[in-house]
Amino acid sequence: MADAAGSVAEPVGLELAEQFSSKDQQREAATLGMWAWLLTELLLFAGLFLCALVLRILYPASVTLATTHLKFWIGATNTAVLICSSFTMSGAIVTSRLGFRRLMLGCMLATAGLGSIFLLLKGFEYYQDYNEHMMPFLNMPYLLEKDTSSRLFVDVYYVTTGLHGLHLITGVSILLWLTWQASQPRFLEFHQNRIEVYGLYWHFIDLIWIIVFPVLYVLNR
């Protein structure tokens, strides 16, 4: 809302919940809770990364053969898209701290849009894999049928990227819901902290993909 001086900044703050003694304690508890959850997610993904790396050590030729059939350039583009989305999410956090609600909403929508572009590209990649018979878990011929070890790596690829995609779908959905909440009057005055805590989740999704891309697509290609 613009004031007489032309300022668009709104009051920013946090509504103190009764179980906390101070706003700082409430803020810290929310951040710590998000980190606790993110670390369990990290352990989940770390197991999959380790599987992929062990397969690379045990069956290097089979894995190299399988990776040549992955869509390297779509993976690279998707990494760039997520890095852009991390930038817009940082923009949303910065503008929320400053109380620039309209800018913040724009940044949040841009982040959701970039997340959706990632999902569309991933869907297109899966569609191409399907056409090339690179889905060994389906009841159809598998392109690398003679190389049974490659199937292990391809299965890990689908589990990892599928799980990451699921997190991204959840992330975009929550972000759109949060954007709707943030569009309500006085949101920043009472709930600015939600943007910060959600931002951690989005950056974490980006971080996981930053590891997925080299582990599955790039190493010893």
């Binding site: 300022s7 951040t31 380790l50 062990v54 050590i57 940082s90 400053l98 080299p214 190493l219």
Partner: protein
Amino acid sequence: MTGNERRLLLRRMRTPAITFVVLLLLLCSNVVLGATLPFRGAYIVEAVITACMVLTVLLVSMEIVHEPPLIRLFSAVGFFWVTIMFGMTLVDYLSR
């Protein structure tokens, strides 16, 4: 938006913008290495670049350095745990 607000916004966006550019440059390096495979040990450089990208996101984008000590400790212990898991497993397979 007043001139002061615009300047404040630009100043606050400087770190995210620099992080964005750094991450894109690191990604470009990894993509070039992956696409051309210029030498046998390229995977070591790719792994180092990836580690730099992860640290950049953790320390700057996720702002761990500005968090209270308890959260810093918590996140460090979590990533250290993963390092132990990777280290012990890979030492086993790589030393066979």
